[in-house]
Each structure stands twice: as structure tokens, then as C-alpha cells.
Subunit: 407 residues, 2 copies
């Protein structure tokens, strides 16, 4: 393995940004949970004016507010109707206003970008992330679905184009923080922590009746709706396992998951000498977002400090893949490879959407994914076109299944 | 602060030994707990033959066995009687057999040394450690008393002679493992963990009656007698605080102690962004000893791996300096500076010896140290001669005090 820890093989440079001084940041998905927190960090550091592009899917009003506040060089809006409304509402905005996936990809690939934060939700992040990779950019990747669906496309492209991928999940940021200064060969395995979600202690019976409102109350993390449901099913943890597989070039048997309800240890790395390093702190996405922007340096961040003596204890247990089968499905994806990740991700997006709309039971989320994984055509060495096609077809099968099991 | 993490200012080299291949190791104190474990590591790695010097205080028989097994280039024995007996018993040994502090210092300074492991007990380690520093060597420092007594002499010498100091304590090794790849300016504070020792839950009343036999039963670590008593009084933790102060160039307010009875987290580093890194593992000195030999690389070590899910929980509490005043004395040493560390270390050595011999109560260990600290002459900017003189005088005062409070 010649690849360094930030998913790039050809460069030995370790500095992404010496600090936020020279930030020329593009945020794909600036109206989402990660995007708004990234803007918060840039604002706190007084560098909000260094914003290059911000993009959104439909929330043009919030994007317009961000434009007023941060004056980015340009914006891109995915949905055409939202794009029209933004243009009508912001006649005096002098920056470029791009539209659609092409517009977002153009923003992602802009050669003036210093760091691209890829924080779109779901499969929609694949093409813009690939565009940023092909431009050789440094990318803070908050869109784990890109790697789950298209890791076999994205990671070779990272090599080819000399890009850098820095994960913005708290877990993968923890792993990265634990491996700086270490040799790749000295890593034995990673131990990804999981809060266990809001239903960690629920019985099979109780899990039958949980509602979207219950699932949206995550005990530790304040996140978007989709990822919060993914946390409740442990599909999010499964995706993180797959993300670690791609990002750090690990084997499936080098990735363990341990339930840690307090979410203080964000993940761990075990080395060949039996030594384990953990990254810890109060649960906040501000740390991993900022770390991706300042890696491998740090800048002061005014957040509460961890106080273990006050907490008293940290607890740990093994994950239960009987009650939470989505985690086991992630390991199946790593075994199968090919398009299985794209199929699972697409099925999950459809199932979660149906659950959030009250059309599907909680237990039928994993059932939908499993059905799609086992009934979908499998391509072992897929092209990007294969993945896009499997994504679409998986959604169709998932829709059918969800419809048949509709409440 | 231009100093790197291994206590050297002039070199930016990070590699001590690429592995154990080219080991030419000298072990000062090879018959002690750390020394024998270091030999175990060299034997496991098949590199026991690369031993340059081994030294002991009085245990010449064990040293003779080590000579038979590892064929070092030479030995040094501190006590003259033991040196005579070794020579009589080993007439066919062709290596050099040196005697006394001078002999040990000669071994420490040998220009052929690749790494010097300084694992003598107490103040006796100061001069040999200084000799190794003046030779510009890389030193694995297991003798924390050297820094407690003479940090103001040793650390400037490390700079002057371009030496490297790598701590072999599990706590300081943990800190070093957490800061590799990090910038010095990004460190906010260190959090040193303490098991709390065998009397962690004892009341004031119970502490009056504890015996040496009880104190020697440490819950987690199998160590030498002196350090085990130091662990029971928390004086050891106080020494580690002072050691961190010198080794990592910290202020006293940058060093916290948290009680963690399971000894799984060996210490932590908090950074300016609120992120905390911890080094963890099953309690064994093999990891920090080997890490000092292979830093910043690692080599495989066949020890049990940590299993948090099986353990279930890690607990934490604040240290109680009412019941364990030795920890507070350490902070007083950092405030006073000068010769206060030498006075406290000397008083502690005398008090522990008296306690081990059943001549002094457990509670009178801190009383002896406090008495010496408050009655000893204080030199603000001491020479080495001042420190040697304060050490001797402190021992005299401590003896008198211990005698007056004799059981």
C-alpha cells in the first residue's frame, strides 16, 4: 500500500490548508446540516468571505440568505424550479447562478477551489464528488453514500487525478486523527463506535411499532433527517464501515463496530503492537468539519471540552445484528463488491423516504434493502454508467417492495 | 517552542530505529522490571544479540544469567561487592566488566550505543542519563526520578547535545503516541490517567493501617516495589505530572490527572480544537518499552488485544488530594521549581524504604515529603552539584523525620 492516509497515492504533501487564512472553500450542499455548520466555522474564523461556491438542492431561500451573508463567487441549485425562484428573488446578485447536476459539477471542478466540502445527501453526491476528484482537489467528504455506491470508481480516480479525500464523518475523522504520524503498515484494524441509535435497548417487539418521530430523536447527534433514520437502523454505521473499507484501503475483517452509547469515543485504531488510539470529545460535527479544512493542523475551536470525571463512565457493548440487520448487510456488501453497494444505498434511500412519510414500517427498511440486494442484477466490475443504472433499477425494485408492504 | 515531541530541538529526524534490525541497545538497570521486559522484547524479536551494555545495582547473579543468554559487549555493576562476585563467578566472560557509577556512566556514553534504555531506580539514574544525553544518544527514559530531580539540568542538556528523550512510562508513551503527526502549538493540555492504586476507595481511617504487603498488590500493573508503593500514595502520579512538565515543555495548568481504575486508557492529549486523543490497550509495559525502541514506527507484538465490549465500561473520577496529598505536592514542585523536585524525590525514596521495612506508616510517607519540602533549603537555579547536595541533605532530613515517626 503506497497510498497515504488521505486517499491519495502520488503526493506526499501532508498539508491541506495551513489554517483557514487562504481558504477558498466550495460547499456542495451548503443548506444541509454539515453545510450550515461549515459556514458557521468559516464565520467564526472570520473567513466566510473566502467562500467560492455554495450549492443546494431545493432550499433556495436559505441559499439566498447565505449569499447575502457570505457573498460567494457563485451558486448552483439542483432543482430547476428552485433555481428560477432564486434568480427572480436575487436580481442584484452578481455571481454566477448555475442549475442542475451539471451546474453543481461545474462548481465542484472549479480550478480556483482550495477545498471542496462534499455535503450533499445520498447518491446525488456521486457525480459532483467525482468532478472534484477529477479536478485534483482536496475534498472533505461528508457524503458517505458516494463511497458506498461508487467507491470502486471514486478511489481509483483519486489515485489517477492526485486528489485527496478527507472524511468529514466523526468516525472517519477520528480514524484519520489517530493515524497521522503512523505508518500505513502498522495499522491492524479500526474500531468504529456506534451510539446504537434511539432504539438500542428496544426489543424485537418494540421495534415493530416505532415511528418516524421517535426515530428522528437521536440521543447524541443533531443531524439531517435521512442520516438520523440511518442511525436508528444502524444502516449509517454499515455505510461507515463500507466508507472506511474504501477510504483507508482496509479488508472487511479489519473493521469492527462497538456500541458506545455516550458517543464520546468517536472511533479507534488498533496497531500491530496492540496499542490502540482513540479520538474523543463531546459530540459535535464542528470538530471533524474543521479538521477536514485545516488537516493536518488544527485551529482553536470554542466548544465545550470533554470531562470524563464528571461523566463517570463510558460504556461499550457488541452490536446486535439480529435486531439491526442493516449492519450485517454492510459486511455482505464488502464481500460481494461490484454494484452491491449502489443497490443497498438506493434501496435504503427509498425505504427511508417511505418510512419518513409514514408509508413503511421501521422493520421493513432492512427488509427492503435485503430484498433489493438479493434480487438486483450484480455487476462485478461496474462502470459509472453501470452504477447509475443499478442505482435507478434498485430504486424501482425498492419502490415496488415498499409499495407491497405499505402501511 | 521549537522543540519536537521527543525532547530535542535541533533535529527534525523522526526515526529512532526503523525496526529492531539495527538495534545496538544498552540497558541501564537490566535486572529490574523494565530491564527484564526490554530483554524479553529483544529476545522475542530475535535481536537479543544486539545488546551493547547491561548494568545492575547489586543483582549480579541475574546479570550473569543475562550475560550467558544475550552476550552483551560489556556490563557495569554499581555495588563494588557485587562487581567482585560477578567477576569471580564469570571468569570466562570476555566483555568488559565496569564498576560503580563511573562504570555505568561509561556504558551510557558509549558512542556505539544506538538506544540507551535508562531503567535504573530513583536518583541513581540521574548521572548515567546525563552521560547518555551528553553523548547525544536516543534515550528511552524509564527513570522518571531523573527528570523530577534534575529536569532543569537534563532538558537543557538534551537541547545542547542534540539527544532524544523518549519516555517509557505508559502514560508518557501514550502522550507521545497521541502527538505524533500533530503540531506542538496545537496541544492544549494532557490528561494523565491514574489507576488510583490499591487504596483508591479506602477512607482516611483505613489508610492509617495499610501495610507494605497490601500496598505491593497493585490492581493492574506488575512493577518493581518502589514504584508500586509510589502508585499507592499517588506520588508516582505526581512524578509523572512533573515528568510531563519537563518532557513535553508544558505549564502546570496544562496537566490534568483523572482516576481511571481499569488502566485501559493510558493517557490523553487535548488539542486546541477540543479534540482529544487517547492511547489505550491492556495494561502491559511491553508496548511502551517497544515503542521507545521502534518510535515512530511499530513492530508486531504478541499481547492480548483490548476488547471494550467484553469489558463493558471504563470509569473515571477526580483524584482526591485530601486522602492522597502526594499528588498536590507535585503541583507545588512545579510552582516552586528549582531544587524542590530533588527534595521531594529524595524524601520519597527514604520514606518508601522505611515503609517497605515496616518502620513508617503509610500516611507518614506524604508527611515526610511535605516536611522535607518545607524545611529544605531551596535553590532557584541549581547546578548539578546543588541538586546532588540537596538530594543528600533531603535524605538526611527525611531520615530524621522518619526516625522520629518510627513505628
Amino acid at each position: 500500500m503506497l497510498r497515504s492516509w488521505v486517499g491519495e497515492r502520488h503526493h506526499t504533501t501532508v498539508s491541506v490548508m495551513t489554517d483557514l487564512q487562504n481558504a477558498s472553500v466550495t460547499i456542495l450542499g451548503s443548506t444541509g446540516s454539515i453545510g450550515t455548520q461549515a459556514l458557521d466555522i468559516l464565520e467564526r474564523s472570520g473567513k466566510g468571505q473566502a467562500l467560492r461556491w455554495i450549492t443546494c438542492n431545493t432550499k433556495w431561500q436559505l441559499l439566498a440568505e447565505q449569499v447575502e451573508k457570505f457573498s460567494p463567487n457563485g451558486v448552483a441549485i439542483r432543482e430547476e424550479q428552485a433555481w428560477r425562484e432564486f434568480k427572480d428573488a436575487m436580481p442584484r446578485y452578481t455571481g454566477r447562478v448555475l442549475c442542475g447536476d451539471d451546474g453543481i459539477c461545474e462548481a465542484a471542478a472549479d480550478s480556483e477551489n482550495r477545498v471542496v466540502l462534499s455535503a450533499m445527501v445520498g447518491f446525488s453526491g456521486v457525480l459532483p464528488t467525482l468532478a472534484a476528484i477529477k479536478a485534483g482537489h482536496t475534498i472533505g467528504l461528508a457524503n458517505k453514500e458516494s463511497l458506498v455506491s461508487a467507491g470502486s470508481i471514486l478511489m481509483p480516480a483519486v489515485d489517477t487525478y492526485g486528489a485527496k479525500l478527507l472524511a468529514v464523518d466523526s468516525e472517519h475523522s477520528a480514524i484519520l486523527q489517530c493515524v497521522v504520524g503512523e505508518r500505513r503498515d502498522d495499522l491492524e484494524k479500526v474500531i468504529i463506535t456506534a451510539s446504537g441509535g434511539p432504539f438500542r435497548t428496544y426489543t424485537h417487539e418494540q421495534l415493530q411499532h416505532v415511528t418516524a418521530a421517535q426515530a428522528l430523536k437521536h440521543p447524541n447527534w443533531d443531524m439531517g433527517a435521512k442520516i438520523t433514520i440511518d442511525s436508528a437502523t444502524l444502516m449509517n454505521k454499515g455505510f461507515e464501515v463500507i466508507e472506511a473499507f474504501w477510504l483507508f484501503g482496509l479488508r472487511a475483517d479489519q473493521i469492527d463496530v462497538v456500541i458506545h452509547p455516550q458517543s464520546i469515543i468517536h472511533s479507534m485504531v488498533q496497531f500491530v503492537d496492540g496499542s490502540v488510539k482513540a479520538q474523543m470529545g463531546v459530540p459535535t460535527m464542528l470538530v471533524p468539519i474543521q479538521y477536514a479544512l485545516t488537516y493536518p493542523r488544527r485551529t482553536p475551536l470554542d466548544i465545550p471540552r470533554m470531562d470524563l470525571a464528571s461523566m463517570g463512565q463510558l460504556t461499550f457493548e457488541s452490536p446486535d445484528t439480529e435486531r439491526f440487520p442493516c449492519l450485517a448487510l454492510a459486511y455482505e456488501v464488502m464481500r460481494q463488491g461490484g454494484t452491491s453497494g449502489a443497490a443497498v444505498n438506493a434501496a435504503n434511500e427509498i425505504a427511508v423516504e417511505a418510512f419518513l412519510q409514514g408509508r413503511l414500517r421501521f422493520r421493513d427498511i432492512p427488509a427492503t434493502i435485503e430484498h433489493v440486494l438479493h434480487h438486483m442484477e450484480h455487476v462485478t466490475h461496474p462502470s459509472l454508467a453501470d452504477i447509475v443504472s443499478i442505482d435507478a433499477e434498485s430504486r424501482r425494485i425498492a419502490h415496488d417492495f415498499a409499495h407491497r408492504h405499505q402501511l
